[in-house]
Symmetry: C2
Subunit: 211 residues, 2 copies
């Protein structure tokens, strides 16, 4: 048995220890890959990156302490050559586009097979990008999607938190009439007529996160 001259190094970031060790097993079975470090949240991830400068980072988006997209952004900030593969459960278009805009090289879902994951890693190492079919489809939809203004988004978030128009008005420092305007425009863009409906479709699109 001969040791390969160089194995590409992988940083594994996910808040589920179980998945980390599972994926680490898979990767370490490959002759040309090995996991140099694991991290359970964004802060740990940045520290581990600085220390090990991995060739590629596998990153879950939903994490405590620091959100995944933010991690992508910071990684690319401190090292523009950082190759990040987003490996997550969810495929809301918001998260996909934000991750890609932040500089992720690939977006794959956790229902991917071990073989495909390894292929994906090698692709990214070779400078390619990789999109899960579902992610690509969502992305295509997004092009035609209406953008929300900052105010609309702010009002949406507060509304989804159960706040009344008056409370939203106070927090945003505006009149409750204006809140209504923003929400009215929001409703139109989302194709709904009530706040509860709005919360539903906004959640589906990943614009807000309830739990």
């Amino acid at each position: 048995m001969l040791a390969p001259p160089t194995r590409a190094s992988v940083l594994l970031v996910d808040d589920h220890a179980l998945l980390r060790t599972g994926v680490a097993n898979i990767i370490n079975q490959e002759a040309d890959l090995h996991v140099v470090a694991e991290a359970g949240n964004g802060v740990e991830a940045l520290a581990a990156y600085d220390r090990f400068k991995p060739d590629v980072t596998l990153l879950d988006l939903r994490m405590p302490v620091m959100e995944g997209v933010e991690v992508v952004r910071r990684l690319r900030e401190r090292d523009p050559r950082a190759r990040v593969i987003v490996l997550t459960t969810y495929d809301t278009d918001e998260e996909i586009t934000r991750a890609l805009k932040a500089g992720a090289k690939a977006y794959v879902l956790k229902d991917i097979s071990a073989d495909d994951l390894v292929t994906c890693i090698r692709d990214v190492l070779a400078g390619k990008t990789y999109l899960a079919p579902a992610a690509a489809a969502k992305l295509a939809e997004d092009v035609t999607r209406v953008q929300l203004t900052p105010r609309e988004l702010a009002a949406l978030r507060l509304m989804a938190d159960g706040k009344s128009n008056k409370e939203i008005a106070n927090e945003l420092g505006i009149s409750d009439r204006t809140v209504k305007t923003h929400l009215g425009h929001l409703f139109e863009k989302l194709g709904v007529t009530s706040r509860t409906e709005a919360v539903k479709v906004a959640t589906r699109r990943g614009l807000v996160r309830l739990e």
Copy 2:
């Protein structure tokens, strides 16, 4: 190296192929355990159970085709000795209590370590039960928790779907006055004063699922 006389058989059910192979690796490294089959949804799980009669079943709750709790129920229906470990990401009290009531022997979260998971499997094989600390805490809360009536729950679900009182009334075949009564009671039980707020806490408690 000597082969152990009998290795306990494990059925692995999760819609994420990646996690399945990862966990399978972990389990198969143990001398006294081995994975006999994997399934990606509830229907496959039932079929695999009938075929292999595994000593223990590791089951994710959130799956396509058939929901996890339903799978637990059916497994225990056809074989009351079936030992099911729920292995999931979420810990809403609703899901925990429902899974345990359906007959699950253990409830663990995916942030568990590989070692602890193996311990959990052995515990369950030995006839014990196992609760993740977070799950146990939620369960304790649940004892004091107010129960919703069927009508309240139905109204809640429709409301969370964005329906107006009038629409809910139509779908339930009752007057919109009655809907208000149900929602009024619901609000009181949830400790809220508006529908949007109600959707929020109901989602947090796992009473409704938005996406």
